[in-house]
Symmetry: C2
Subunit: 154 residues, 2 copies
């Protein structure tokens, strides 16, 4: 039982963006900081954009930043959004073939367990996960820091 890599990377991207709100970050920079391939990150960032967790500023000097304050990004929501499959067992899926499903108690118990898990995850926001950049000197890659420029200058 493991969260998928997509969720793991999504949380890492959000944590990275949350550590420095004063500038735009690039995919290359995050890929280097976390040691993750840019291709992987590209898809993660696209999805986070679709979910309105991240916003991307295009053009020269562009990059990305959090679309909302870190304190408004609930960890449980992100996990629900990025996990393609929260079906703990076959009986959670509409195509389940399990023959004892109609009266089995297992599904209800697993659902209760999942609810308990999300109660915890829903009680934390990205702000609770956030780390101070100074505690992570290796997050500062060799990529130039791109300050956020006013729209008019772009």
């Amino acid at each position: 039982m493991r969260l998928n890599t997509f969720t793991d990377y999504s949380l890492r991207v959000l944590m990275y963006l949350g550590t420095d709100l004063d500038r735009l970050a690039t995919i290359a920079e995050i890929a280097l900081a976390h040691g993750i391939s840019e291709n992987h990150l590209m898809k993660v960032v696209q999805e986070l954009g679709r979910g309105q967790y991240v916003e991307t500023i295009r053009g020269r000097g562009g990059g990305m930043r959090l679309a909302r304050p870190a304190g408004e990004i609930v960890v449980g929501e992100v996990v629900r959004y990025t996990e393609a499959d929260l079906a703990l067992a076959e009986c959670f899926t509409p195509t389940s073939q399990c023959r004892i499903q109609p009266a089995c108690q297992l599904k209800a118990i697993l659902e209760e367990a999942l609810t308990a898990m999300f109660l915890v995850l829903d009680s934390y926001t990205l702000a609770d996960l956030l780390i101070q950049p100074s505690r992570f000197p290796w997050l500062a890659g060799p990529h130039p820091v791109v300050p956020i420029r006013p729209e008019s200058e772009r």
Copy 2:
């Protein structure tokens, strides 16, 4: 995020064995009842034997049964036993490459979520999952029912 098939099948085997404590069941019979391959089930039953959840009586007229009363088989314990990987994210593994791990708060939050989940699963036993055979007529396969015979007769 999904329990592995091994856990799913283990719970189904235990539920099957728990529905009728007066006789020994065979792998062929459980495979047929649940529509699962015998090969898969063989490994599941071996592992459940190793964990002392199931005991096997060898020889003619042999089969298997629960090794303990259903009320003493805790669902959370079975899931911990059968899940090969309870590492919710990379940072749970000893070989983790995550660069922000040393001070990241995510692991602690995921651990708390996992604990909450197991608190629920630990509050139920197999007896809570058990179904009455009469509610599952399709569990009665065409395999002959093998009554438990006294040791002396085997």
